[in-house]
């Protein structure tokens, strides 16, 4: 479905996007943002799910299950710690404003 050259265009545009999104970030948000980007690559979960869904031997099922467990950990864990960190900035900001 995704042609080779089209894929290269997607790669290129996504790379510029990633660079631009991060480049104007204040230092105080570096750790939460790293955590946030760590969450975003948790999308590997859908790939692992598709790979496991198509598995037709025990070996592939075992690898697939490991992959899905790891990917789910990446996505869920990444989300939980990122949200926890960012929530603290909100409360600190509100205190400052009041």
């Amino acid at each position: 479905m995704i042609d080779g050259v089209i894929a290269l265009y997607i790669f290129m545009l996504a790379a510029f996007t990633g660079y631009e999104v991060i480049s104007r970030v204040p230092v105080i948000l570096h750790t939460p943002l790293m955590s946030g980007s760590n969450f975003v690559h948790g999308i590997v979960l859908v790939g692992a799910m598709v790979a496991l869904a198509a598995a037709d031997s025990t070996l592939l099922r075992v690898i697939g299950v490991i992959g899905v467990i790891l990917a789910a950990g990446n996505a869920v864990g990444g989300y939980v710690v990122t949200e926890r960190m960012l929530k603290m900035f909100v409360s600190a900001g509100k205190k400052q404003g009041s």
């Binding site: 996007t17 750790t31 760590n38 790939g47 690898i63 990446n74 400052q96």
Partner: protein, 470 residues
């Protein structure tokens, strides 16, 4: 009415498109403090959308579907519980752990594709193998980083010729990768399943061997690098699976993570090559050779009086504060001093804590407002007008040798000029060296007094002393 296969295909792809857009918008919103929480929720919505649509339409047999749901439940619940429980000070290693899991998942996808072999064209096989290699290195490397920061591995394994051993592992991995891509019917020895298994084993070994010699002080840079690598691996596997959401999200993270890694390395005045190959971090005692003089101790009561009658105090928090969980106590002390009419500022070095911004997270947790917190460029000129620089558990980031002593291993690293303050009080656990094993010239200056003790206990004593002085 059942949707036709092409409708399902289109629907799935559209949901991935929406997810990719939500990820980018979410990251954008995460880059400003006011919109940050909504940012992670937008990205979370994208993740849920992509996952649910995939689950509904991936067309698995009921047995495989059961496996998928079970695996999501196991991984998700474990990560949820651990993520909720972890202390803020342990965030860096949790990020390393979750990141490693993502790399492992990308490697698992690659393994499934490569074990299947022949169904794909050559380009697909090469990209699957490259993604699998990167994912494996990120997986095992991140686990080592986690183990080091968690204190499970306390020694950095180093031996002569280590670089050549790592190079040899890399070359063996590349050779095996060639056999994998050549395929089972190439007639080459090991080609096919054995080559695939050895390829992954060798990639995992490389991640371990690369990370073991790196000192704890450099770990944030390494974690950030592995974060970028996982992104890249996910992007590559996305190409193999024709999955636009994975390509876009993975590449965005790869690029963003690379930039972030550069920023961190720059803050430590070290190039990435230096971090990976120079075995800095806890080695040299040679750098401390220039430091002579003795440390002068001070009692908390005297330090408290000094601070209570100061005009301006700059607090420099470091990792020792984080370890002792003293951020709330420090804010209590700062508030008390502010009530006494003292001007209080917090000076944050870019790599204070374990990662850029980690110290800001900890201070935010304690409720310190942003406008009291200054970064290196803003605050450095102000040390000269400060009556007291209070150093809490920081060491290398205030070492004047970085400015003055060419033979010091940290020479050239940007530091906070705490030595320019009229008085310096250093809260430190003992007389030993800091995290990097380098003696600190600041500690033996005439205007410096050492307050020995755990940061939490010492700051509590200071609070009592300031109250008594008031």
């Amino acid at each position: 009415m059942m949707p036709s296969p092409s409708d399902v295909q289109t629907l799935t792809q559209l949901s991935y498109l929406a997810a990719a857009a939500l990820f980018i918008l979410g990251l954008k919103r995460m880059s400003s403090p006011r919109t940050a929480v909504s940012g992670v929720r937008w990205a979370g919505a994208g993740m849920v959308l992509a996952t649910v649509v995939t689950l509904a339409f991936m067309g698995a047999s009921s047995f495989n579907l059961l496996l998928v749901i079970g695996a999501i439940a196991v991984g998700g619940i474990l990560a949820w519980v651990s993520g909720k429980r972890v202390a803020m000070t342990d965030m860096p290693q949790m990020i390393a752990l979750y990141n490693g899991m993502g790399g492992g998942a990308a490697a698992a996808i690659a393994a499934v594709q490569l074990y299947r072999g022949g169904e794909h064209g050559l380009v697909h096989l090469i990209i699957a193998a490259v993604g699998g290699f990167i994912g494996s290195v990120s997986f095992s490397g991140s686990l080592i980083a986690f183990a080091k920061l968690q204190g499970l591995i306390t020694k950095s394994v180093r031996f002569g010729g280590q670089k050549f051993v790592n190079l040899a592992i890399l070359l063996v991995t590349l050779g095996l990768g060639f056999l994998v891509v050549a395929g089972a019917d190439s007639g080459l020895p090991l080609a096919g399943l054995p080559a695939v298994s050895l390829f992954f084993a060798s990639s995992l070994l490389l991640g371990i061997a690369m990370t073991l010699p790196i000192g704890g002080a450099d770990m944030p840079v390494v974690i950030s690098l592995y974060n970028a690598l996982t992104g890249l691996a996910v992007g590559f596997e996305g190409f193999v699976l024709d999955n636009a959401a994975m390509i876009i999200a993975g590449t965005v993270v790869g690029a963003a993570g690379t930039l972030l890694t550069q920023l961190m390395a720059k803050a430590m005045n070290r190039s990435l090559g230096n971090v990976l190959f120079s075995n800095f971090g806890e080695s040299s005692s040679a750098g401390g050779a220039g430091v002579t003089g003795s440390q002068k101790a001070i009692e908390a009561s005297d330090a408290g009086v000094m601070m209570a009658y100061s005009q301006k105090i700059i607090i420099v928090p470091g990792y020792g504060l984080a370890v002792a969980q003293a951020q709330h106590k420090v804010w209590e002390l700062a508030q008390l001093l502010i009530d006494h009419g003292v001007k209080v500022r917090f000076a944050i070095h870019p790599v204070a804590g374990r990662m850029p911004g980690h110290m800001n997270v900890l201070l935010a947790e304690a409720g310190v407002p942003y406008d009291l917190i200054s970064d290196l460029d803003e605050i450095n000129a102000e040390f000269e007008t400060a009556d007291v620089a209070l150093i809490i558990g920081a060491n290398d980031v205030v070492n004047p040798d970085a400015r003055a002593n060419r033979s010091s291993p940290i020479f050239g690293m940007p530091i906070l000029n705490a030595d320019k303050a009229k008085n310096v009080i250093v809260i430190k656990r003992g007389q030993g060296q800091g995290f990097s094993g380098i003696d600190n010239a600041l500690f033996v200056l005439d205007q410096t007094r050492m307050l020995y003790g755990d940061a939490q206990a010492a700051v509590s004593q200071l609070i009592q002393a300031v109250k008594a002085a008031g």
